[in-house]
């Protein structure tokens, strides 16, 4: 039998002597950027969730807390110093997180130009991740845009008076505005799955734990995700069911 075998050369690496691409643009470099920016965002999310719980202490304490974020460091620092430092840091972290994930996602899709005809459910250690990370990220990004318009800029919130954080929370999650609450809870579910994989995945990328510590970090990620989701969900649910008004 004579069968002529013609092999298409695979994509080749950089030409010899062409120098190498910057290390941070390598697949692991981009993962480290994702991991570090992701950890910064997790830190913010946990602090934000804890701060939200002031709602249960009543309007005065909640608004005091909101005002405290603005006056933190006064008179040594200008008003809203902490707030703007947080905002700039968050914008930088979110931009780095999204940009590196887009670059890695594009590389991943180029790495499998022809799909499998037969597909089986994932069975890896973090089988849920493949299905939830990228779609969940889009849900979370859409939610962040809505959330800023709602409770930061108050563009879509009935309470325009910015110092009245408590009033804005009660107004946005009012029972008749139930789609807002449902969207909030749906985004929380996406966030929960994102944290469940993202937290231990960041540790795996930065620290490279042993098999035992990998299991422990995966458990810690799950506990953190459940805590964050429960803490955030408590506020809209309490308002919707009239426990906070």
């Amino acid at each position: 039998m004579s069968t002529e075998l013609r092999s298409r050369p695979a994509a080749s690496g950089p030409a010899a002597g062409a120098g190498h691409a910057p290390r941070w643009r390598s697949s692991i470099g981009l993962k480290i950027i994702m991991a570090v920016s992701g950890i910064a965002l997790v830190g913010f999310i946990v602090a934000h969730m804890a701060g939200n719980l002031h709602v249960f202490e009543g309007p005065e304490r909640m608004n005091e807390y909101a005002e405290g974020l603005r006056t933190f460091g006064e008179p040594l620092l200008p008003r809203e110093s902490l707030l703007w430092a947080m905002r700039l840091g968050l914008i930088a972290a979110a931009a780095a997180h999204i940009a590196s994930s887009v670059a890695l996602t594009r590389r991943a899709s180029r790495a499998r130009p022809v799909k499998y005809a037969s597909r089986k459910a994932a069975r890896g250690e973090a089988a849920h991740a493949a299905a939830t990370m990228r779609w969940g990220a889009i849900v979370i990004a859409a939610f962040v845009v809505w959330h800023l318009l709602d409770l930061t800029f108050r563009a879509v919130n009935p309470v325009k008076d910015v110092p009245d954080a408590y009033g804005a929370v009660v107004a946005t999650f009012a029972p008749e505005r139930w789609p807002v609450t449902v969207f909030y809870l749906a985004a929380l579910v996406a966030l929960g799955f994102h944290l469940r994989h993202g937290i231990w995945s960041a540790v795996q990328t930065i620290a490279g734990p042993s098999a035992v510590w990998r299991r422990r970090w995966r458990a810690a990620a799950l506990v953190t995700a459940v805590t964050v989701v429960a803490g955030f969900a408590a506020v809209p649910l309490a308002v919707s069911f009239g426990l906070v008004s």
Partner: protein
């Protein structure tokens, strides 16, 4: 056993491929999966048809040549088993079995189920070796290795370079393969002199070949016939970070 097969047929690298149905009867459940394909090919040759091309060599699970995605799983449904060690008793009479090649941009199809895996060779050429002086072999106890390190290095060295990790990865990443090679040598005293340049060079070759990045889903480990764990990828990440920062 009577089976229906749907096999990826592609005449050459440039041609379009498609899944082609075949029927085969009288398959022994003691036959290996590759022997079942041998029987199919004998029928095809007798009928004057082009036999199905597939890679195979040792047929005892140690060479890494066989490379079939069987019903959506690299190396088929049985854990820790290469395609050549998979037996037809894992299937039932009347089953329909889909057989496809590894699917990855850096692994172009040569013909039917045969893919070109020289991208892996380029990763090895970029650092998957040690430089050793010629001459008399050193005494076995000249460079003591703690037992735990020796065991871990051996576990990583069990990688046969088949590419099932790439085939299973949702991102088409070759990280498990590369990490096994990097970790195997990083565990040994002989691997230390080139430890930094090795990891940097191999990651560059991996990315340059067009493999995707790792998202830690663990599909690679689940498909690996040698059960290599995700911890090697963690240590690859750590070695890369240290080498890139110039601290290793």
């Amino acid at each position: 056993m009577k089976l229906r097969l749907r096999i990826w047929r592609q005449p050459d690298a440039e041609a379009a491929g498609r899944m082609v149905p075949y029927e085969i009867d009288g398959v022994s459940e003691d036959a290996s999966f590759l022997e079942m394909l041998d029987v199919l090919n004998e029928h095809l040759i007798a009928d004057g048809a082009d036999p199905v091309a597939f890679d195979h060599d040792c047929r005892e699970g140690i060479c890494g040549a066989c490379s079939l995605v069987i019903d959506g799983r690299p190396h088929g449904p049985q854990a820790a088993t290469t395609t050549c060690q998979l037996h037809m008793r894992q299937f039932s009479d009347g089953d329909t079995i889909d057989i496809e090649p590894w699917r990855a941009g850096p692994f172009p199809v040569v013909k039917d189920l045969v893919v070109d895996r020289t991208a892996f060779d380029r990763i090895i050429q970029a650092g998957g070796y040690i430089s050793a002086p010629t001459g008399t072999a050193p005494d076995a106890h000249a460079a003591p290795v703690p037992k735990a390190d020796a065991d871990a290095a051996f576990a990583a060295a069990a990688c046969i370079g088949c590419g099932a990790c790439v085939a299973a990865c949702p991102n088409g990443s070759g990280m498990l393969f590369m990490a096994a090679k990097v970790d195997h040598l990083a565990r040994m005293p002989q691997g230390q002199p080139e430890r930094s340049t090795r990891v940097l060079g191999m990651v560059e070759a991996h990315d340059g070949a067009g493999f995707g990045g790792c998202t830690n889903t663990g599909e690679c480990s689940a498909a690996c016939p040698k059960e290599i764990g995700l911890d090697v990828i963690g240590r690859l990440n750590r070695d890369f970070r240290k080498a890139a920062a110039g601290t290793a």
